[in-house]
């Protein structure tokens, strides 16, 4: 048996196998149909099958050598031709059985499942019958015995080979796997089981030659005990021990061949029962371990999950809650058990089995609530439905979003204040110069009037004062022009350059709000003739409006499409389209007037100034109300020399 342990192969294995084969054949050469190798217990084929299943079909020639040698050594009466023919039949037959098994789809040659065992048993039964027929037919052909004896010999041969294989092969295959499950085999229980086996055998053989089979059923008791307690591995060992014990007892008691055959038939039933029961127990153990493992994994997943996980029954009541759910809801799983889901989550749809990333509010037992994202999955089980609800606390994320929005607003405000302060400072300086001069002249005039005389100087000073006041007025006019048409520094610039630089300055904001921008620029678009700074301001304003529009609603799609194409005559047309809710008709009416805004942050001047800038360039800016969402379109003149 040791020879099959592990997977060492080669000549030592072959030699060991042959020796073991011959020895087994010799030992089991009992009650033969002398001088033929027809016995009621024939374990060598079991050894051969174990070798081929475990090590592969390339060891098949060893089978032939072994059977020929056994024929010569154990019996040695036949002619060389006969020996070769019989050896060939046995070797080819069992090689064919092993090959059939190995080719069977999904058959594990180690015999690990009930299915493997069924296939093995059936194949061996059929194979042994065919081999027996061939082997006996050869004997008849050689004139060894007549066809009359064929059925009786056939049964004997078949029983011997099948029981030999069924008891021996599984044992050897288990042994080859190293008795993994048999550690600690020699416990007190094992000793008791062995004792029970011996006692049972004793009882059976106490009954004598004729009555022994009647008590055979008693052997089922210790065998079932072993199979249930030790599974398939235990069953193989117990069966082998029983078989050996049976044969020894039979030999000691000197039973007749027909009694032995009857006992071996019973033994076959015992073996099949024991192996199948043992395999069922082993498989059950394996399944249970796998389930326990899965259960442990699942338990860990559920308890470690940062999301709250609720198990809900088909009456929509909470059955269990994980740690995260307990924390979120500020209640223990025991407190939550039995509470309807609708009590915990407000705003559930009619059929909760279809919820996916649903935005809802979770309500704690004390009435406080927080925003959650809820997903619910359903599992049909035993004709009932089990729901698993997973909820994610969104308050943190909402909070961060709010903070970001707030910071955006503050940044905007700060920028506007800074711009205003800069403007105010420049304005103050510009205005204060003439005002200082004017007030000084007027104060000088006062003095001169007090003193009298000096008409000429007084007149001069007064006209200078008037000139300074006009100068102040000029400053104010220039300031107004600055916003209207004052400083237009137009140059040729590519539309892609313009849009690109605007998107770069807005990159962070787009990214933060998860806004997708798609650009569709017509090929070979001519450059436009514009004041780059002013147009960047206009485009920045329009894209920033679009961002506010798509982020305001919190919808799933946040998209802005920017298109540029040749427009009418010598103009390029640029459109900025967003996926937001669009602009209310009433608001659209006065959209381009100063201080009209739909935003809390209000850049009220934005669109009014944008339109005046675009018109200053000879272009137009309007709201295209034919599309969904907001779509602003502007036209810009093509630079000279490009058409």
């Amino acid at each position: 048996m040791e020879v099959l342990h592990g997977r060492r192969g080669g000549l030592p294995l072959v030699a060991s196998y042959i020796v073991a084969y011959v020895l087994l054949d010799w030992v089991s050469y009992i009650h033969p149909v002398a001088p033929y190798a027809i016995t009621p217990w024939n374990p060598p084929p079991g050894l051969s099958l174990a070798l081929l299943l475990r090590m592969g079909l390339r060891y098949a020639p060893a089978l032939f050598v072994a059977s020929v040698l056994a024929e010569i050594i154990v019996r040695g009466s036949a002619s060389a031709t006969e020996i070769l023919i019989y050896g060939l039949i046995l070797a080819c037959g069992y090689t064919a059985v092993a090959a059939a098994l190995r080719r069977y789809p999904h058959f594990d040659p180690r015999i690990r499942t009930l299915r493997d065992l069924s296939i093995f048993t059936a194949t061996v039964a059929i194979g042994a019958a065919l081999i027996a027929a061939a082997y006996l037919a050869a004997h008849v052909a050689m004139g060894r015995f007549s066809w009359d004896q064929f059925p009786a010999y056939m049964l004997r041969f078949w029983v011997g080979d099948v029981i030999g294989a069924i008891v021996t092969t599984p044992l050897l295959l288990v042994a080859a796997q190293g008795w993994k499950r048999a550690r600690g085999a020699l416990t007190g229980e094992t000793v008791l089981q062995a004792a029970a086996l011996v006692v049972t055998l004793a009882i059976i053989f106490q009954a004598g030659d004729v009555a022994a089979p009647r008590y055979f059923y008693l052997l089922f008791l210790p065998l079932i005990w072993v199979s249930v307690r030790r599974g398939y591995e235990g069953a193989t060992a117990a069966l082998f021990a029983t078989q050996v014990g049976l044969i020894v007892a039979v030999q000691l008691a000197g039973y007749t061949a027909s009694s032995v055959l009857e006992l071996q038939l019973l033994m076959l039933a015992l073996a099949v029962t024991g192996l199948f029961l043992g395999m069922a127990v082993s498989q059950w153990h394996r399944t249970r371990r796998a389930l326990e493992r899965r259960e442990a994994e699942l338990q860990t997943v559920v308890s470690t999950a940062p999301d709250g996980i609720l198990t809900i029954d088909d009456a929509q009541r909470i059955v269990a809650a994980n740690h995260a759910a307990e924390t979120m809801l500020a209640a223990t799983a025991a407190q939550l058990a039995g509470i309807p889901l609708s009590r915990i989550v407000a705003g559930l749809p009619g059929n909760p089995a279809q919820a996916h990333a649903l935005e809802a509010r979770a309500v704690r037992l004390d009435g406080s609530s927080f925003p959650v994202e809820l997903s619910i999955g359903a599992a049909a089980f035993d004709g009932r439905t089990l729901y698993i609800g997973i909820m994610r606390d969104m308050s943190q994320r909402r909070h961060i979003e709010d903070q970001l929005r707030e910071r955006d607003r503050e940044l905007n405000r700060a920028m506007r204040i800074a711009a205003a302060a800069e403007m105010a400072s420049a304005l103050a300086h510009e205005l204060n110069q003439p005002l200082t001069a004017a007030s000084s002249y007027v104060q000088a005039c006062e003095l001169m009037l007090q003193r009298g005389g000096e008409q000429q100087r007084l007149f001069e000073a007064m006209s200078k004062a008037v000139a300074e006041v006009k100068r102040a007025a000029e400053v104010v006019r220039r300031l107004r022009d600055f916003y209207r048409d004052g400083t237009l520094r137009a140059q040729a610039v590519g539309v892609d350059t313009l849009i690109g630089s605007v998107l770069r300055t807005l990159h962070d904001r787009l990214e933060r709000h998860g806004v997708q921008v798609t650009m569709q620029l017509a090929p070979q678009l001519p450059p436009v003739h514009v004041d780059v700074m002013q147009l960047e301001m206009v485009l920045h304003n329009l894209v920033a409006n679009a961002i506010d529009s798509v982020t305001g609603v919190g919808g799933p799609q946040r998209e802005i499409a920017i298109e540029a194409a040749p427009g009418p005559a010598r103009f390029v047309q640029i459109a900025i389209q967003d996926s937001g809710p669009g602009i209310d008709a009433a608001v659209a009416q006065q959209l381009f007037q100063a201080f009209a805004t739909s935003k809390a942050t209000g850049m009220g001047m934005g669109l009014a100034i944008s339109r005046s800038i675009v018109e200053q360039h000879g272009g137009r800016l309007w709201l295209d109300e034919t599309r969904s969402g907001a779509r602003f379109v502007l036209t810009l003149p093509i630079a000279d020399g490009n058409a």
Binding site: A428, H429, N432, T436, A437, S439, Y441, Q443
Partner: protein, 206 residues
């Protein structure tokens, strides 16, 4: 001694210069106008008296730069800074650096006159102090070498006997020298002598 009455007006804006010149001129002040700080610094000499009225924000050197350059050249003319911006930080800086006043455009004539008067008063005091120092200096010039040696030791706080030992003369002689020194400087008591001489010594040792 004359009271200074000259006001140096520095502003890049011609109208502002002209109007301020007219207004202050009518008040009886002598005014001189400069279009930039550089122009003023080119013309200015240490013997100028009066005060400076300069804009904070000008092309070229700003009012603050002018202030530091005047300090660097040892020109002690009082400075009034004018600004259009109500710039608190600039005002604090200029006042710390010794500007007399800080005015916001457009100027209020009462405030302007008060500031100008204050600045000129400051300059008057400065000139008086300088005059007193010059007079004392003239008196000290009349002392003999020995008397000057005795005076140094007296200022250093030595007693007659120590002075006598240091100079190898008798205490009685020291007493006689001290009497002559006080007579020449026109003081009657030792504390008056110290009050007269010490400020000069401090300036010298600096």
């Amino acid at each position: 001694m004359d009271t200074p009455t000259t006001i140096y007006i520095i502003d890049d804006d011609a109208a502002v210069r002209d109007s301020l010149g007219l207004l202050l001129g009518l008040q009886g002040y002598v005014t001189r106008v400069f279009a930039s700080a550089g122009e003023f610094l080119d013309a200015c000499t240490p013997d100028w008296t009066g005060c400076v009225l300069a804009d904070l924000r000008m092309p070229g050197k700003s009012g603050l730069e002018l202030q530091s350059e005047l300090g660097g050249r040892g020109i002690a003319l009082p400075l009034i800074i004018i600004t259009a911006h109500g710039d608190v930080a600039a005002a604090r800086t200029s006042l710390k650096a010794g500007a007399v006043d800080f005015l916001e455009k457009p100027l209020d004539s009462a405030q302007l006159l008060a500031a100008v008067q204050g600045a000129l008063q400051r300059d008057t005091e400065r000139l008086q102090a300088a005059d007193a120092a010059a007079r004392t200096e003239r008196l000290l010039a009349r002392l003999t070498d020995r008397e000057r040696e005795v005076l140094d030791l007296v200022i250093a706080g030595r007693h007659n006997r120590e002075i006598a030992a240091a100079l190898g003369i008798s205490a009685r002689t020291v007493e006689a020298h001290k009497a002559r020194i006080m007579a020449k400087l026109g003081v009657e008591r030792l504390p008056d002598l110290l009050r007269l001489v010490l400020p000069l010594r401090k300036v010298k040792t600096d």
